[in-house]
Symmetry: C3
Subunit: 473 residues, 3 copies
Amino acid sequence: MKKARSLSLAALIGGGLALLTVGVASAQTPDEIQASLDDLTAALDTMWLIVAATLVLFMQAGFALVEAGFVRSKNVTNILMKNVLDACFGAMVYFAVGFGLAYGAAEAATGFYGSGSFFMSGNTDYATFFFQFVFAATAATIVSGAMAERTKFSAYIVYTVFITGLIYPIVTHWIWDGNGFLTAFRDDPMNGVGVVDFAGSTVVHSVGGWAALVGAIMVGARKGRFVNGQVNAFPGHSLPLGVLGVFILWVGWYGFNAGSTLGMSGGLAEIAARVAVTTTLAAGAGGATAMLLSWIQHGKSDLSLTLNGILGGLVAITAGTATLEPWAAIVAGVVAGFIIVYGVALLDTLKIDDPVGAVPVHLLNGIWGTLAVGLLSSEALMDNAYGVTSTWGILLGGGTDLFVTQLVGIAATAVWVVLASGILFGIIKATIGLRVSEAEEDAGLDVYEHGMEAYPEFTGGRDPFATLSGTGR
Amino acid sequence: MKKARSLSLAALIGGGLALLTVGVASAQTPDEIQASLDDLTAALDTMWLIVAATLVLFMQAGFALVEAGFVRSKNVTNILMKNVLDACFGAMVYFAVGFGLAYGAAEAATGFYGSGSFFMSGNTDYATFFFQFVFAATAATIVSGAMAERTKFSAYIVYTVFITGLIYPIVTHWIWDGNGFLTAFRDDPMNGVGVVDFAGSTVVHSVGGWAALVGAIMVGARKGRFVNGQVNAFPGHSLPLGVLGVFILWVGWYGFNAGSTLGMSGGLAEIAARVAVTTTLAAGAGGATAMLLSWIQHGKSDLSLTLNGILGGLVAITAGTATLEPWAAIVAGVVAGFIIVYGVALLDTLKIDDPVGAVPVHLLNGIWGTLAVGLLSSEALMDNAYGVTSTWGILLGGGTDLFVTQLVGIAATAVWVVLASGILFGIIKATIGLRVSEAEEDAGLDVYEHGMEAYPEFTGGRDPFATLSGTGR
Amino acid sequence: MKKARSLSLAALIGGGLALLTVGVASAQTPDEIQASLDDLTAALDTMWLIVAATLVLFMQAGFALVEAGFVRSKNVTNILMKNVLDACFGAMVYFAVGFGLAYGAAEAATGFYGSGSFFMSGNTDYATFFFQFVFAATAATIVSGAMAERTKFSAYIVYTVFITGLIYPIVTHWIWDGNGFLTAFRDDPMNGVGVVDFAGSTVVHSVGGWAALVGAIMVGARKGRFVNGQVNAFPGHSLPLGVLGVFILWVGWYGFNAGSTLGMSGGLAEIAARVAVTTTLAAGAGGATAMLLSWIQHGKSDLSLTLNGILGGLVAITAGTATLEPWAAIVAGVVAGFIIVYGVALLDTLKIDDPVGAVPVHLLNGIWGTLAVGLLSSEALMDNAYGVTSTWGILLGGGTDLFVTQLVGIAATAVWVVLASGILFGIIKATIGLRVSEAEEDAGLDVYEHGMEAYPEFTGGRDPFATLSGTGR
């Protein structure tokens, strides 16, 4: 039947590699049994990584739809293009540089960046590369939403390359690489525990969120958004796209969170299952809370806020998904719902224009989720997932060591990302420019930047090309 | 590399839990080998449950899109919101109450409901909870489609909580819990076999379908639907959303059906693979049949009926997916296609307004699928999947025991769900009200209930807010 | 808890089949350990096949969205219907005939077609059937895009049945069945290697692509497409659908490519992980290249070309995904991007109308991907994946044996598919007709063929039914 049996056979017979003979009829020697067990263990763990990474890659579609659904139709092609290219350029850049900075053999004692494995040289752990890349792509894709509808396409290309290739990998090294100065996985972690960020509330979401905030401030608000002290709503052009995007993100989050066990054998399956449950409960709690809050406040239940409540709950549980009990996951989600509703209002007050709510979702809830670990992690689960028995959540009597370490992780990440992305956006602004012209913003980025519309038949009678010159069409 | 190796190591070294040392270089003792085998077996089965449950959760997106695509654009926000909240509130309610009623330690001899494990107390089988929750969410989400475009949002919140938390879990207990009075998994099952409902034609789909039927009748038809003996078609606003929804449901159904082996080890993999094939064939047969039938009857092939034919085929194979041979799965699907086309017509005749066809898809084919087990199950597969050798499909010479048991299961479910949901909807109607005002129905539920439109730029010139007062906008 | 433990128990206790007792507390005998290992190995490999096949089935949704997004709204229902029915009819036909022609016990020495296992008779390898079917459905679905917006629905039904049931299975037999005359899996493969097409650049994509090219030529260009030597663009009606479709295809491709290891045990996991990486890099390189090229050429970055660049990269890596190093995968993707941009232009020059770009994506890149194996496969990976040490990529010093064999595979496939599909489309044209009437093409196929519109509320004021008679409405 196709390649299956045959390929396996070919590999076994002809291979110079030490492929294992599994499943022969007669009983095996102890060494053969051991080899079979090792092979099955590696196969199982690798399969889990591949499946989980595939789910995380699917989140690219989720981000694309959420961002597209929440902008106006004249900018849909542009925001879709950016989301598509996050994945494409991201793959090139992370292959060349990013992975090496994150996980390459450390530069001796510093613990601040990796060095090695560039272009995958000497790295044959393909499953790990695949899994790490999809996380990098996630961090990068957060930014485009906050800067939507007025950022130059060429500027986007530049900043996404630097976020995927430099800014994100550095934080990864700090918190997830065994040599990072903040990591829980080194022999002598900070405060005896290191930063506990199971799947990336800080490493992925805060990194993307800080860059999004800096970018949104530096590019400025969309024309007409804040006028005479009033906030004008620019409703997204398609809620169905937004809803589908959120469901895809929710589904992908099981790869993101549960997949971060990085394996299934050796008791990790139990952790992965618990992670799936806490992820589910936080998402539900976040969505339900934001919906009820919007209903209470405005007399009508708001679908956009509900969707962001779900995403906020997911971001908030990401750091503590393995160390919070189910009830604590619900607490994390409820708080996330509040953060969404009040965070969106806060941005309006501060006149920061974030078309899709990336800052409340990824930054504020990324911080909250990282703190929640220090507040709500249970003693038994800190032991189970990290082998740490000296500290756990403050509110459960686990002392301050964990909480303080989390604060350090948040602060270090903030300093690095704000500085690095500030410089990055500053240089872009001073050179090629960050923002499109007013005429382009009025007409929409789609025709100026890409010469095409998202829905060419549904323009309501206007000719989007009429007022443009030099569009090459 | 990230947490992977490190985490595993940390867990192994520091953990107080009995985590296993797997994959060490030297050969192991017999006890160590046994421990490795047990660990791998648990890991494999847990991974299957997590992956399958994730696929089933994805079905929430499928339902949302099908229901959104099949209603008019003025009610799209509303139906999306309901689908989003099914998952959010469902998670909270099933965690608190539903799981305990379904699978909590049984109240001694009754077999009518479980009691215990509320709020997951004492329940550490996280994978099972996750898997069972996504099924509960599926049952709840069926109802909103049949009651779309005229049901109050507050009424929806109330009924969905009761369906997920009470009505659905009771039937689950009856048929799937080892103590249920109808279950095939107790020591002395009814007629020596118990109700055979592998993945839930009755437990999930008929439960949702009966509640949908009762709800659709009690809320009444949409304004203008049945006028002077004529049936007016209200075509859904977007077929692409409907098609994507159906494909997502089809994909998710492999988690739903094949995942219901609840494991892969011990020969279950073979069952899961067979289930995948029968699921595929029934879906294809249902879609092809409905398409051809619509073509023959109306001179044109109808995409909506084709889509519902696929879903009908999937529902119809759900009970017998492990005990029907491939040819029998095709028979089940062909009949499902007929049921869809004639079922839709029947509802029109009865003046029951079901905007998305939930009753033909989930109720009628849920019943048919449960009966199909009693008609078409093969002797060898009843033995293989249930260890039953005394009865199988009537049409294959297996006697009446199985068929009669299936009838009892269908009838018991019907009585419980019709009564319970009838009382539920009756109380809602008498208190907060079940149906929106005529003005709201005319203008659409989106602006009245949620103050927002699904496609604010594509209103065709009408101002949906113009005729409204008190919408808070 | 539901069926899980209980079902497993029932199966173990009651079953007449040799189900294994796994996970008992006491240590096992050597034979029992062997049985446990065999069971786990089979379970793991089966699970991988089921998960991968489910991902591939999801690609049906991707194709449906890409094709729908790239046509005009008046033909959306029609193209969706075709995509839906590819899967439905495909399941029936592949079950009845296709699988048997591809993998049935070979007709002795010929190696040109299989014979046996029709209607799955005697075939109990359900996982393999499921996996092979989803590939067949993929090949069939490629054609409808190239012939979109002017092909009769009845003609479509006929040709899709023959492609899934006859044309595709024959090539499968040649290259993937152990008895095929071109296969790498026979004892004495051609030139000591046989055609290396790991996941189907030729078997799936070129087959679909050749049929698409022949069909597009024979049905002729859409009215108004090529007028007075000018090429008129008919922009697709919805880019968001196109983008989502491409992301779904990208995600599904991990099932397609990595799943083609057909298992995880015995060292296959390592291959699957490498495949996931090369697949990712080729997709990214294809998209990035096509984007940059369109930007350079037209002054604007083109989203449609970028999307097809991604798909082209995926098709191009499909044959060599297990034997190309990561850097070579990027080369394959970059070339694929060029092929897309210039291939689209070439078709315009040749006045061949391919509305979705199926020919550049599937045919041209299918050929390129098959050649890339002969140019770029590494010595170590040819050994690792195929156990071949005598030949590898020409450019890496592996001699001409592999390259020449690939050319033979490409040529043989071309001859068979062009002839067979030419005859097929010729007979259809001479009998029921291949093309709709001009009036139908003007009004759109949706109302004539299906009596319904994709977006009935968004017609921009036109009444699509106004000019039609005899539409049965």
